[in-house]
C-alpha cells in the first residue's frame, strides 16, 4: 500500500514510511521498467517484495539500493545477468565467514574463459610467476586473477606486441597504488553488511573509473607531448593541436563534439 503518486495522489511521493513502495514507484525512482524489475526478481538478482496481499507487495530502500547496484554492474561494469547473480549470491550469503565470501566474489569477478593450451599462454604464465615473485606478492599464481593477467599478456604476445611486457612493472606499480587506496577506502566504510558489497562495487566500478581515467590521461599526455595549445586556450578546447601521439588518443573528440 501507499506511496504511488498515481494510485494515491494525496500521499507525498517522497516518503514511504515503514512499508515501502510498490513496484511502479520503484520503477519510477530508478528508471528501470516494471517488466524488467519483475525479470530481475525472477532471475534472483533482486529479492521479491514483501507481500501484504496476494497481489500487493512493497519494496523498501534496500530493494532500491540493490536495483541500482544491479544496473551499475550491468551498464557500467558490463557484467552479465548470470555473473551478477553469482556475485550477489555470494554477497547475500550471511552464513559463511566474511573472508570466504569476499574471496568467492572476487573469483567470480575475475573468472574468464580458458581456451585451448597455447605456447603464448604458457610463457605468459611464467611471466606472471616471475612478476609475483619479483614483487613479493602474496598471491596464488593459479588464481583466476593471475590467469586473467596471463591471458592478457598472451594476447599481447600473439598480436605481435610481446615487448609490452617491459611495461609490466610500471603497470604493477600503478595497480599496487590503487589497490592500497581501495583497501583503505573500504576499511573505513561499511562495517560488515555492506562490506562485501563495497568490495564488489569498488572492484567493478573502480575498473571502469581507472580505465576511463587512463584514456583521459592518454589524451592529455598526447596533447602535452605533441603540443596542442593552439590559438584559443590549452584546456577545454577541442584540443586541436598535433597529436600524432602513438599509444594515446589524438584528441578528446571530434571538433563538433565540443560544440
Amino acid at each position: 500500500m501507499m506511496g504511488g503518486e498515481l494510485a494515491r495522489p494525496d500521499v507525498d511521493e517522497g516518503e514511504e514510511g515503514e512499508h515501502g513502495v510498490r513496484i511502479g514507484e520503484l520503477s519510477r525512482r530508478t528508471g528501470v521498467s516494471v517488466p524488467t524489475i519483475k525479470y530481475y526478481v525472477r532471475e534472483g538478482l533482486l529479492p521479491a517484495g514483501r507481500l501484504s496481499s496476494p497481489n500487493q507487495a512493497s519494496y523498501d530502500a534496500s530493494h532500491e539500493r540493490r536495483l541500482r547496484l544491479v544496473r551499475a554492474l550491468l551498464d557500467v561494469g558490463g557484467l552479465s545477468v548470470a555473473a551478477i547473480r553469482e556475485v550477489l549470491d555470494a554477497v547475500d550469503d550471511t552464513e559463511r565467514p566474511v573472508h570466504k565470501v569476499l574471496g568467492e566474489a572476487a573469483d567470480r569477478l575475475a573468472a574468464r574463459h580458458v581456451g585451448e593450451p597455447d605456447a603464448a599462454l604458457d610463457a605468459a604464465r611464467a611471466a606472471v610467476a616471475d612478476l609475483v615473485e619479483r614483487r613479493g606478492w602474496r598471491v596464488n599464481v593459479k588464481s583466476p586473477q593471475a590467469e586473467a593477467l596471463a591471458g592478457a599478456l598472451a594476447a599481447l604476445e600473439r598480436v605481435g606486441h610481446g615487448t609490452f611486457v617491459e611495461l609490466l612493472d610500471d603497470y604493477a606499480d600503478a595497480a599496487e597504488k590503487v589497490a592500497g587506496v581501495d583497501l583503505a577506502y573500504a576499511a573505513r566504510s561499511a562495517r560488515r553488511e555492506g562490506l562485501v558489497e563495497s568490495a564488489v562495487v569498488g572492484t567493478v566500478l573502480g575498473d571502469a573509473l581507472l580505465t576511463a581515467l587512463r584514456r583521459l590521461a592518454h589524451v592529455d599526455a598526447s596533447a602535452r607531448a605533441y603540443g596542442d595549445g593552439g590559438p584559443e586556450g590549452p584546456v577545454a578546447r577541442e584540443a586541436s593541436g598535433e597529436p600524432g601521439a602513438p599509444d594515446g588518443e589524438g584528441r578528446g573528440s571530434g571538433p563538433d563534439a565540443a560544440a
Copy 2:
C-alpha cells in the same frame, strides 16, 4: 595454388613464399574456424584474400596478424564485432592524417551509451571538470573519454558510494603514470603503419592488463594487511589466511583451484 598441407603434402607447411596460404591453413594457424574467418571477411573485419582463381584466394602474414588482432579485441578486450569494425576502419584509413585517425579510433574505443539526463550525471560531470582543471589536463571535458569517466562516477554516486570520489586523485595519479609509459612505449615502436594499430592494442589490451593487475594487487594487499602467511608459505599457496579485506579480493581462489 600452393601451401595446403593436405592439398600439397610435398610442400613444407611452414613457409608460404610470396603468395601466402589458403583459408584452411590460416584457420589452422590461428585457431579460428574457417566459417568464422569467412564471417569476419563478410563483416569487414578482415580483408578478403587475393584471388588467383575464381575460388582460390591466398592470405598472407598481414591477414594472420589482423585476424589475431580481431580475436584479441574480441576475447580479451571484450569489444563487439561492430565496434571492432569501426575501430579497424579508422586504422585502415590511410588517407586521413594520422593524428585525426588516432583521435577517431580513441573516441570509438571510449564511446558508451548515454542514457537519460540525471542529477548524478550532472554532478559527476562537474567533478570531472574540477579534476581536469585541478590537474591541468589538456583535454576536452566533452570528449567521450571524459563522459565515460563521468558515467562511472555517476554510477558510484547512484549506488551509494559517492565518497569514492575522494580517491579520484589517487586514481588519476596512477592513470597518468601508465599513460606516460604507454606513450613512451608507442613512441619507440611502430613508425607510421602500425602506429594506429599500436594505439588500439595498447589501449584495449592495456586496459585488460591493468585491471587484471589491480585485482591481483587487491589479493596481495588483503593478504598483506590481514596476514596470510599460514602454515605453508606466504606465496604460491592457496592464500589461506584471513583476508576479510574490504575492497579487494579475499584470496586468490578457492583452495581446490590450486590443486
